[in-house]
Subunit: 178 residues, 2 copies
DNA sequence: AGAAAATTTATCGTGTGCGATTTAATCGCA
DNA sequence: TGCGATTAAATCGCACACGATAAATTTTCT
């Protein structure tokens, strides 16, 4: 608010479309916050539907992964969902307590645990089949727009995962100059 | 993988661009999962940088909100960040324990608690100033693309928040038909 | 003025997420 | 063969996130 006129005076260095240094620390300009908030909005939108299946949102994602490919290991589910065993182990144990899945040590490699859908777990798929359409309608987006956003988000995730290991040094370098 | 040829046979009813019912329950087609994963990727990318400030990612967002407008109430921060007092109260108490903020009951309305930056908290802003540029570089996106994604995500969040209260009934209706 | 309703924050319990560590099994290599 | 390194789960502790609820204050209504 304070110096919007400044952008005119220094238009050669900072054209109108470019944010000032001050603007960069405004929450409204944070892409990460938009992702963060949209994620919460999804969780909240799913809640009333998933309550009817007795699932939390992460539990639902695990079930979707298993409906797509049954008998995955904890590690396999983890790499598919981007979660570690310290998150998945207790989550899957809760699914087991609900009798939706069973857990077995692999005979070939006893380090691994294979997660299998029970009849009850497989049966839940029919009830869940309508959820994507329901949520799709809720977003009010066309299928094409949704796909475009997905592609954008997946590219973003990929870029972040690639850059993450170096960010600590990049930040130090930025601080040294700034 | 099993029946990609099927889309040709039934092309009149389901053109190539439209997903089959089976495809709808594949994790790769879930916009919510792309948002969920991108959110985790941001948290992980921020981690090494925020460790140097001694902040978690949600704590950082609260600090950003306070740097933008100091002296907000718990409720004000909550509506800005989309969080409830049951999340913010302990989080802000941790910021207080780190001596980054102080908490005071409002004199005008003693129900409210105002959160003020300490000198240490205000000072941290200078160190945090380089983070957006650092993360911006990490995403590998142009400023325009980032803004477009932000607009898309904010529209999505808005649509989900609007639809959420009705989703339970919409789902029932969908199930009755499907 | 005074009781009922509404508002604001705080508290409690459950379920993620993840860093650090542990345990058990497998692999690699001398 | 055997022993150190690696890998897969599990465990533990801490910090969100949120539903349910409680406690204190203010507002509203009569």
């Amino acid at each position: 608010m304070s110096d919007t006129k400044g952008s005119r005076e220094t238009s050669a260095a900072t054209p109108a479309a470019e944010a000032t240094c001050e603007d960069l620390l405004k929450l409204g300009n944070f892409l990460c916050f938009s992702v963060y908030s949209a994620g919460h909005a999804f969780t909240r939108a799913y809640k009333p539907i998933l309550d009817k299946l007795g699932l939390t949102y992460p539990q639902y994602l695990v079930m979707v992964a298993l409906w797509e490919a049954d008998g995955q290991t904890i590690g396999g589910l983890g790499s598919r969902l981007g979660l570690e065993s310290n998150t998945l182990t207790p989550l899957v144990k809760r699914l087991e307590a609900m009798e939706l899945v069973s857990r077995h040590r692999c005979t070939e490699d006893e380090r691994q645990v294979r997660v299998r859908l029970s009849d009850k777990g497989s049966g839940l798929k029919a009830m869940a089949a309508g959820i994507p359409l329901c949520l799709g309608a809720a977003t009010g987006m066309t299928h094409e727009d949704a796909r475009r956003m997905q592609a954008d988000l997946d590219r973003l995730r990929e870029a972040l995962e690639t850059a993450a290991p170096r960010l600590s040094e990049v930040f130090e370098a930025t601080r040294a100059k700034g």
